[in-house]
Amino acid sequence: MAEAQLDTAQAERKLAYVNAITEGVREVLLEQPDAFVAGEDVAGAGSVFGYYQGLLEQFGPERVIDTPISEKGIMGLGIGAAATGCRPIIDLMFMDFLGECMDEVANQMAKMRYMFGGHAKLPVTVLTMSGAGMSLAAQHSQSLEAWLTHLPGLKVVAPATPYDAKGLIISACRDDNPVFVILNKLSLALEGPVPEGAYEVPIGKANVIREGTNLTIIAFSRMVHEALQAADQLKEHGIDAEVIDLRSLQPLDTDTIVASVKKTHRAMIVHEAVRFGGFGGELAAQIQELAFDYLDAPIGRVGAPFSPVPYSPSLEQSYMPNAKRIVAETRRLIGI
């Protein structure tokens, strides 16, 4: 069912995001004998988030592998094995741990093919968990996609729904390039339709999930749901917002974004990461360049304020972007 154009509406069965991840990985392990999962507590525990549970039993310890707490080693394992014929699925438990293996990611994984003049192929997929909201504080709550999207050689996707989580994992693992699949911890229990069997969600295609006429809200990962809520609320203020779920950050579906903004004349970008220096800057820069004459208002950006993620619920709640802030920021920028 490669490149299936399954209509989400068709899929009757509902599944939680966490289980959609499991299914995606299971499909890959079923179809690709050279694929295996390696990471900290992925086998016996089935990941601390539970999304590999059952895979050890189904595929055995040779294909679902617990590793030491050695992120450089784990990432190196993925790179070396991918360069020599395997298709590793590497689990980086929390995205916050990227710092521990950023050399392997940035200087080896992303660049190897290019530095080698095209004489290497690296079909490695990294699954990692981002996001705040569980009082896990500054070192277990970050959204660091901006580090990755700045790295030629990597692909980066960030599913917002169970459907996309499964489909993007399958696409990522079938891709012959390194792909980061950024998951979101507050979304784990989120339910949505998920077809059985293998299907792909194309990497590089954004999804217009709500049509609208006079504002484009661009979001990804969990912020998509906040954007949808904001769109509902904005209706009361006479704003009919289109919502784009990017799904893929690299490659970026600039065409879909620009076409929408040319139609709506306004854009609001939302991500959970710190606003300053975040991926939203790239989006805003591209939009203003490519749709300059169409813009009726400055492009807005909603992101986290410029601080580490705080622990206390009272602070964390006011730290995280949400529908309310999207609405407020939209109203401020548009002046209504």
Binding site: E40, D66, T67, S70, M134, S135, P305, S307, S312
Partner: protein, 326 residues
């Protein structure tokens, strides 16, 4: 030439151990009852390690700790009130609610912070030890970390540098047999983490981490060595955590047997030390009961304090990102 624990030291260690035990039992209850947010990694079972090491330290000796950090804070002299308040995420917490369980710290008593990054504290403690040598003090730095952390590059780099510069650093590996749910034999092909010491050119010592006196003696030698300018020691303490990796019952995985847990509880560090204290006539059973009662009461009051402490005001969200000249 072992350092003998005096009666006063035994009492001191006992006090610290009971304080840790009670702090953690109450913290576990708070978590189970949904009173505190986030993830708590409880130290129960490992009390002898923090206490046996910490009795050798002064406020100007620095330690770094781990995600399982409460025991180290308590043993270093942390106050229940500010600790519970921090777990609650309250304004009166040690970190004003910004850090929580995994980042609890107290610079005044030389507690350079728990750390959410496995191995993250080790290079920092090495840096503190470097500063101590640079400033020509007699102070030492101690880094606590787990068996799992000994596989991180940060352990390796910091250990090598500590040995190279002969820093006053004690690397205390609390080998509780697991990194999360992964048993030691599934994360390293060695039995004694202390075997790594030779590869850096420092002594490696294995000690029974359930026996406070054994820890005290071994740590005493390591600290003395460090104070004398003779360099770092890798001190491995074999120990066990009674509760799950996170919280009390955690994810409910069956990665170890009840028998195994029971087996270790037979050698409970507090019970063992208390037997010794009674045997040697240093404490009576009744006095021991009173100590527990007093500390339990402390905890109760501290929890009340934490409950009443206000949540941090969202207007302060951006404070302390940077140091700003007053």
């Amino acid at each position: 030439m072992t350092i003998q624990a005096t009666d006063a030291v035994l009492l001191d260690m006992h006090e610290r151990m009971v304080r840790i035990r009670i702090f953690e039992e109450e913290a576990g209850k708070l978590m189970e009852n949904g009173k505190v947010p986030g993830a708590l990694h409880l130290y129960v079972g490992q009390e002898a390690v923090a206490s046996g090491v910490m009795v050798h330290l002064n406020d100007d000796d620095h330690i770094t700790s781990t995600h399982r950090g409460h025991g180290h804070v308590v043993a270093k002299g942390g106050a229940f009130k500010e600790m519970y308040a921090e777990l609650y995420g309250k304004a009166d917490g040690y970190c004003k609610g910004r850090g929580g369980s995994m980042h609890i710290c107290n610079m005044e008593i030389g507690m350079l912070g728990a750390n959410g990054i496995v191995g993250g504290g080790i290079p920092i403690a090495m840096g503190a030890a470097f500063a101590k040598k640079y400033r020509k003090t007699q102070e030492v730095a101690v880094s606590f970390f787990g068996d799992g952390a000994s596989n991180e590059g940060s352990f390796h780099e910091a250990a090598n540098m500590a040995a190279l510069y002969k820093l006053p650093l004690i690397l205390v590996c609390e080998n509780n047999g697991f990194g999360e749910y992964t048993r030691q034999d599934a994360h390293q092909a060695i039995v004694d983490v202390a075997d790594r010491a030779a590869g850096y050119g420092m002594p490696g010592v294995v000690v029974d981490g359930m026996d406070a006196i054994a820890v005290y003696e071994a740590a005493g030698e390591a600290v003395a060595r460090a104070r004398k300018g003779e360099g770092p020691t890798l001190l491995e303490c074999k120990t066990y955590r009674y509760y799950d990796h996170v919280g009390v019952r955690g994810m409910g995985l069956s990665y170890r047997t009840d028998e195994e847990v029971e087996h270790w509880k037979q050698r409970d560090p507090i019970t063992m030390l208390e037997s010794r204290l009674v045997e040697q006539g240093i404490l009576t059973k009744r006095k021991i009961t009173n100590i527990h009662k007093r500390i339990r009461e402390d905890a109760k009051q501290a929890i009340e304090f934490a409950e009443k402490s206000p949540l941090p005001d969202p207007s302060e969200l951006l404070d302390d990102v940077y140091y700003v000249q007053a």
